[in-house]
Amino acid sequence: MKRLILTLLLVMGLVPMAFAQDDFNTIALRLGGGFGEQAEAVERLGLSGDPRALPMLQALSDGKLTRMPDGALRIGETDALTGAPADATGASALRINNRVRAALRTALGRLQIVSPDPAERLRAVDGILRSRSAQDLPLLDAALARESVARIRDRLLLAQGAARLASDDAALKQAGIESLGASGSEAARAVLLEARAGNAALAEAIDAAVARIDRQLAFRRAGELLFQGLSLGSVLLLAALGLAVTFGVMGVINMAHGEFVMLGAYTTFLVQEALRGTFLGPWSLLCAIPAAFLVAALCGAALERGLIRHLYGRPLETLLMTFGVGMMLQQAVRLLFGAQNREVSSPSWMQGTLLLPGDISVTQNRLWIIVFGVAVLLLVMAAIRYTRFGLEMRAVVQNRRIAATMGIRTGRVDALTFAFGSGIAGMAGVALSQIDNVSPNLGTGYIVDSFMVVVFGGVGSLAGTLIGALTLGVVNKLLEPYAGVVLAKVAVLVGIMLFIQRRPKGLFALKGRAADQ
């Protein structure tokens, strides 16, 4: 047993070290020897994980490795060991037999692990992982020391753990279980469970490691779920913020709000098409934000001045009328752009996924939408609190007649406020174009949810809108794994109805004089 451990330690720790310049050269030179010697050298080079061995073995396999009379090896006009140009006159091609050929195949497969091409490296690791043999350990150790790509490193660690588990040494097995348990991946869990049958003595340790992985996986799932919830919440927030202004502050119920979102998404599409090929092309999404705001705000102002103004104080009629407007907008866009989806591409800086600590993967575009949602919220809050327009808007909401006597043109403020809320809906459309289909009925899916957010959070409270949107988003996503998408939605709706029983004015009820209106 002791001898065995000693040998293993040698194989594990010493072999890579032993492959200093001299040993590598010695072994490599044996490629020029007889078939038996050749095969052994090929095998040892394959296990070494030394990138210098790769071109040499490849050349041998291709019949391009030649031997000088003094025993030096050449690949074409270069020295096979140093890669320096060298005289190759009188070199004779090395011949190989089937045994060497077989050894070469294995060795080359292993050595792909040090190939400069990441895809090939990954393929090599997977091949080694499948074999699960302790023989590969030095190769894996050497590759691990060199690997810098995180994804391949993870794979290497997995293969290393699996190889350690396959060894005969208890300490090494323990180390394998330990490292697999720490990795927290599904694949490691499978490797551990598979090894459990053959290692009755280590069952306890393996179970502990599996439990540890399960905890990590659960944590990761919870993290990803939370992120999805926040992402949905930020989408709802964007869709509902405009409503919080038009419905919450002004008390105008606008069923065409979803169509303003849709107009924003189509504006994004048009801006993208207009800027395609220009230097602004990659930034078309950013340019679309003010454009979408303007388009939706102008439509909003026209709607308020032209139609809604005549229906103040008659909310049910306003609801019906704006529904009709939404219907017409939808159909008009369908006639103009066609019913099929329009393609809005994501800029490169929004693509791909990001790994957070704990291996929680988040998609970049959803992350940006969360950032955008928060930014828009802050913008709206600042506009209401710190600008002249915000002051006039609050004054008109609090007391229209006194505001008018103070010289505020209330009609103009109404139009601006409604345009402001509609413009926010347009900006929401820019964000939605990144995660949803840009089609004429884009807005309809969000309108009911947005109203729920505003009612739940408390009409007239931006903080309530934020909390309401995030709560609904997270609760929706948390329920989904258990109840399915549809039932989760139904459950949330019922939940809100029950909630309104307790708090008819929403989470953040207005206090004082404003509550009476």
């Binding site: 119920i253 139609l307 005549h310 229906l311 909310p315 049910l316 009629e317 306003t318 609801l319 019906l320 009328m321 529904f323 009709g324 407007v325 939404g326 219907m327 017409m328 907008l329 939808q330 159909q331 008009a332 369908r334 006639l335 009911v448 109203f451 729920m452 009612v455 399915g484 549809v486 039932l487 939605k489 139904v490 709706l493 109805m497 029950l498 309104i500 029983q501 008819p504």
Partner: protein, 358 residues
């Protein structure tokens, strides 16, 4: 309707009688031999029958909205639930004539691998039970939603949005295959009702007359409700809810009663609608349908009962006529109708005639 002069009342009555007589014509003229110049085609009978069901739905909305001020944007859900109850009966009546020939299970259940009928399908092989359910299920749902909403004084647009969310949620639910209601295909390929094959002229005439009878009965019930003291109270609630409350009336109970009654009428309309059109699917739950029905009422003139019927017929006639040659334009016209009705015709078509007389 305290301010109703007798002249106007008689006018409405004459209008009503005219509509009813006109509605009796299609099945009679349909019975004429083929080729006769006055013969009305099967298609017209079916379409008019559909409109009659819509008129009952409009009537139910008018009862709740026009009189009690409850603008429900979810009446399409009650209509569809009634339709599904009838559809379940019709599915059971197919028996072993389905594609798979299973004696008990409808085709879609065989297809989805059901071994036996779900418990909530039991009893639907009996027509009276199915009819009862077509009334009770919408009524119970309206009772639950209404009770939750009215007791916490959810009124106006809030109630509208909640009812819209209700029908939206139901639509999503009925689109699911595992609900046991046929998923997005719903029910179709019905064979016969009460032993009469559905594709025969007598079945068509029977269904038409049944719908017409139902319209008459629901109209009489509604008229009775709104012309009683109860009806006056409903109008009072619509116009000044808190004042009625302060006078000591239990507003919640009044509203709940009228809401449930209205939902049951909508369920009846749905139950009659399904055998006439021969299909029911979750699309009937879509919020757009409900709000379209509200526009029929608004267009005809709400708070008049007769206006709702008039509106249902005229808007649907317009729709059928327009979609036959310019289907793209229909939604634009419908949208414009919403705007016209709210801004220019707050009292609807009926109001138009009144204004001219006064």
């Amino acid at each position: 309707m305290q301010g109703l002069s007798s002249l106007r009342f008689n006018l409405r009555f004459a209008l009503l009688a005219l509509i009813l007589v006109l509605l009796l014509l299609p099945p009679i003229l349909n019975a004429l031999p083929a080729g006769h110049p006055l013969r009305i085609s099967d298609f017209v009978v079916a379409v008019t029958g559909k409109w009659i069901c819509y008129a009952i739905l409009a009537l139910s909305i008018d009862l709740a909205w026009g009189y009690a001020g409850i603008l429900s944007l979810g009446h399409g859900a009650f209509f569809a639930l009634g339709g599904y109850a009838m559809g379940m009966h019709l599915m059971r009546m197919i028996g072993n004539r389905g594609v798979y020939g299973h004696p008990v299970l409808p085709d879609f259940m065989v297809f989805l691998g059901y071994k036996e009928l779900p418990w909530y399908w039991l009893g639907f092989e009996y027509f009276p039970f199915a009819m009862l359910m077509a009334l009770l299920v919408p009524g119970a749902l309206a009772g639950l939603v209404g009770w939750l909403a009215f007791r916490s004084r959810i009124t106006g647009v809030y109630l509208s949005i909640i009812t819209q969310a209700m029908t939206y949620a139901l639509m999503l639910a009925f689109f699911r295959n595992d609900m046991g209601f046929g998923g997005n295909n719903g029910f179709t390929d019905f064979k016969d009702l009460l032993g009469v094959p559905l594709n025969t002229p007598s079945a068509r005439a029977g269904l038409y007359l049944a719908a017409l009878g139902a319209l008459l009965i629901t109209l009489l019930i509604s008229a009775h409700v709104v012309n009683s003291k109860f009806g006056r109270l409903l109008i009072a609630i619509r116009d000044a809810e808190s004042r009625v409350r302060f006078l000591g009336y239990d507003v919640t109970a009044f509203k709940l009663f009228v809401f449930v009654l209205s939902a049951m009428m909508a369920g009846l309309a749905g139950a009659l609608y399904v055998p006439i059109v021969g299909i029911i699917n979750p699309g009937e739950f879509s919020p757009g349908n409900s709000i379209e029905a509200v526009v029929w009422v608004a267009f005809g003139g709400r708070g008049t009962l007769i206006g709702a019927i008039l509106g249902a017929f005229s808007v649907n006639a317009l729709k059928t006529w327009l979609t036959s040659f310019a289907p793209d334009l229909w939604l634009l016209v419908l949208g414009a109708l919403f705007i016209i009705v709210t801004l220019l015709l707050p009292r609807g078509l009926i109001g138009l005639s009144w204004r001219r007389r006064t």
